[in-house]
């Protein structure tokens, strides 16, 4: 039996041959030739909505040979906000992160401009919501792209039976399923709204409108202020809270609060949902998540729910808007892939798949995409969320706008609008005193 020995000469010959083979061989793309990409998406409330988004992204990654890793980060306990702040501070983390409303602007210095992506998307999909332009542009450059998941409006979701019975309002006559609002909807304004709230309160089924410090409360109150033309700070940063319009809103609120449950000042974003689902409340301002949970937990309530437009004020009809945006960090090592995925996600067919998966909860930021079939088909009752996506008759309101973002973000998180109402109602202060307090706070927010 011969024994082959591995001599020094043989080793050198083999190594040289192997090196020559490696150098001479053609470049072969491996399965992840386009690098690695990590994304932090918002963890959706609606079961299954994450899966559709993951499938779309992974399909793209497979085609583009990108090693894609997705984390779903909850907004419970502000985890997604803290992740954004921490990654920006550490200059490390995901390549791309979904952020709630104000965060792209507050972290703009760490974000990669995405003008190329947004210009392409606007060309393909048409006009983007002005509120998105307000939140996604810094120094004339796009720094974030609208996210599809999580972006929502908070119009009224009311009980058809209770509004008819207690307030004499026929919701289906104003907002029929699958059709535009009728002439009767013209009378759906804040003056008639408070009358209806008083009737519902007397009948034992009050409207459930939160006046706490969380987003649901701040957003609807922001829309109320906007529909009266009541700006607290103008676009140049001047404090404009001492105005007749603000006084008018606060006087209105003093009347409305008397017709609401006494504990609305402590409500969080889940309180109004529970109030409707319990069968006690007759109207809340919310995306269709409350209806979706009622469908699971209290079908009799769900069958009577109807989502429709916000009441109109002297300056127009405004729907409370809370968008999410997607940004790519400057420290990302794969900006090209991140931008390509941003563009891919916002293609109409993909947006429709994601919106379908959320049962119509997510609102596309491109106005051309608000005609998906899902809003007609969802039931019970059929057409219950047909009027959920804002169309031509409503404008979107972002509480705090048009103030410069450093001021607006503080106004939003400090819930200055609901606190003003709380002060001149529950707090027993006069309207003038509440306005003076707000003026002092707003001057403080303008600190640079």
């Amino acid at each position: 039996m011969s024994r082959r020995t591995f001599t020094r000469r043989r080793f050198l010959a083999t190594t040289a041959a192997a090196s020559a083979a490696v150098i001479g061989a053609p470049y072969i793309r491996t399965s992840h030739a386009a690098g690695r990409l990590t994304i932090g998406f918002w963890d959706h409330w609606v079961p299954g909505a994450n899966d559709t988004q993951t499938a779309i992204c992974q399909e793209w990654a497979k085609k583009e040979k990108v090693d894609l890793k997705i984390d779903y980060i909850t907004s419970q306990g502000n985890k997604i906000m803290m992740t954004a702040t921490a990654e920006s501070q550490a200059q490390a983390g995901h390549d791309m992160l979904q952020m709630i409303a104000w965060y792209p602007l507050s972290l703009a210095k760490s974000l990669e401009p995405v003008d190329d992506v947004m210009n392409g998307l606007i060309k393909a999909n048409g006009k983007v919501e002005p509120a998105i332009e307000y939140l996604g542009k810094s120094g004339g450059h796009w720094i974030a792209v609208p996210a599809i998941t999580g972006t929502q409006v908070k119009p009224p979701c009311a009980r058809i039976d209770l509004l008819k019975q207690h307030c004499g309002i026929d919701l289906l006559a104003m907002y029929p399923a699958g059709k535009p609002p009728t002439k009767e909807a013209e009378n759906w304004n804040w003056d008639n709204f408070v009358v209806a709230a008083e009737k519902a309160f007397k009948a034992g089924n009050p409207f459930g409108l939160g006046l706490g410090q969380t987003t649901d409360s701040v957003d609807w109150v922001g829309a109320l202020f906007a529909s009266y033309g009541a700006q607290l700070v103008d676009a140049k940063g001047n404090v404009t809270v001492k105005s007749d319009a603000v006084k008018q809103v606060l006087e209105y609120a003093q009347r409305l609060v008397k017709a609401l449950p006494p504990d609305v000042f402590a409500w969080d974003d889940a309180s109004n949902n529970r109030y409707l689902i319990s069968g006690q409340g007759s109207l809340i301002f919310n995306p269709p998540s409350a209806w979706a949970v009622a469908k699971r937990d209290n079908i009799k309530v769900a069958e009577q729910c109807w989502t429709f437009e916000m009441p109109k004020g002297p300056k127009g009809r405004y729907a409370p808007f809370l968008p999410f945006l997607l940004g790519t960090w400057k420290f990302s090592k794969n900006k090209g892939a991140a931008k390509a995925l941003l563009a891919h996600l916002n293609e109409r067919s993909n947006v429709e798949k994601i919106v379908n998966a959320s049962g119509g909860y997510d609102i596309p930021s491109f106005q051309s995409m608000r005609n998906f079939k899902v809003w007609e088909e969802v039931a019970p009752p059929k057409g219950t969320v047909y009027h959920y996506p804002p169309r031509e008759t409503q404008q979107l309101s972002m509480a705090g706008s048009p103030a410069p973002t450093n001021v607006a973000q503080q106004m939003y998180v400090q819930a200055i609008n609901t606190k003003m109402i709380a002060r001149c109602t529950q707090g027993g202060e006069s309207i003038d005193k509440a306005i003076a307090w707000a003026a002092s706070e707003l001057e403080g927010y303008a600190r640079t």
Binding site: W102, Q213, D263, F265, A266, V413, A422, Q426
Partner: protein, 311 residues
């Protein structure tokens, strides 16, 4: 061969010297203690000292974190009414909660101390439960008990003919609720510390007091309290620090509302820094706790040292 022997000898000599050096080093107990404590010192440096210094640095920057503003953030804060309201509320919250925790802990520790040894372990275990459950979880349960729509307390009250109480919706009731939950969570810590202290008081002192005709109150005042003084001081100091820095209970129950009337330093710092995107101001608010607690710690520890020296 001869070379090998010489090399071995040369190697042995430094080895014996090394052993002697090691023995000398081992005699210096302080060095050994230092090296054994080094992992902990490194951990504290990484998790406490570095963040503390970093927040000091942050507190001296402007809102955009682009330039040094010295104490500008502090002077800005001192001009805000809301800041002084938060100072007042933090003091009310911490002081009242610590007083109630200490009183309840003291009374319950006496009850438990007087239970026969056989059944005492069971009671000790049960009474420690609130302290063992993570506060973020137990506070959620309290939140449900106070819930505006489905409060279990209000359900009971309405059954016996009382009106609903706006536990979290009214500023005064909300303050009461956050203090109540903090007392519920923290009282077992006082209980266990006081119980340990009570067990260490020599029985002969009580016997001597009884012979002198002391009643129960005099025994507590002249025997128990002086013997427990150091433990009480340490427990109060520790609890004061923890309660001043409390975040989870207020955050979960009220998030500082209504109308900011339950904010404490930590919740307001979080709202300003993390939610509001103003990290320097948030860092300033959180640092404001440091001098208050530093002064309290100085006086309490000084008294303990003094008593130690007297003994």
């Amino acid at each position: 061969m001869a070379n090998g022997v010489a090399t071995d000898a040369a190697a042995r000599l430094p080895a014996s010297r090394r052993r002697a050096a090691r023995r000398r080093f081992a005699r210096h107990k302080s060095w050994i203690a230092f090296f054994m404590a080094l992992p902990l010192i490194a951990l504290i440096a990484a998790l406490v000292v570095y963040p503390a210094l970093y927040s000091l640095f942050l507190a001296t920057l402007n809102k955009g974190m682009e330039r040094f503003v010295g104490l500008g953030n502090f002077t800005f804060l001192f001009q805000r009414d809301l800041f002084w309201m938060v100072v007042k509320q933090s003091v009310i919250f911490a002081v009242s909660a610590v007083i109630f925790k200490a009183l309840i802990g003291f009374v319950v520790a006496h009850f438990v101390h007087n239970i026969p040894a056989k059944g005492q372990r069971k009671w000790r275990g049960m009474l420690l439960v609130p302290w063992v459950i993570p506060p973020a979880m137990s506070t959620l349960a309290w939140f449900w008990l106070f819930d505006p729509s489905y409060s279990a307390f209000n359900w009971v009250l309405s059954r016996i003919g009382f009106h609903n109480v706006p536990w979290l919706g009214d500023p005064l009731w909300a303050r009461f609720s956050v203090i109540l939950v903090n007392v519920w969570y923290g009282a077992p810590f006082f209980l266990i510390m006081y119980l340990a202290a009570l067990k260490s008081v020599p029985e002969q002192l009580y016997e001597a007091a009884a012979i002198d005709g002391a009643n129960w109150w005099q025994k507590i005042w002249y025997v128990t309290l002086p013997m427990m003084r150091n433990i009480i001081a340490i427990t109060v100091l520790f609890s004061l620090i923890v309660t001043f820095a409390n975040f989870d209970i207020v955050r979960i129950l009220t998030a500082g509302g209504p109308i900011d009337q339950t904010h404490v330093f930590a919740t307001w710092a979080f709202q300003l820094g993390i939610e509001g995107g103003d990290l320097p101001l948030g860092a300033c608010v959180s640092l404001f706790m440091f001098p208050i607690l530093g002064v309290a710690a100085y006086f309490i520890l000084r008294d303990i040292n003094r008593r130690g020296n007297e003994a």
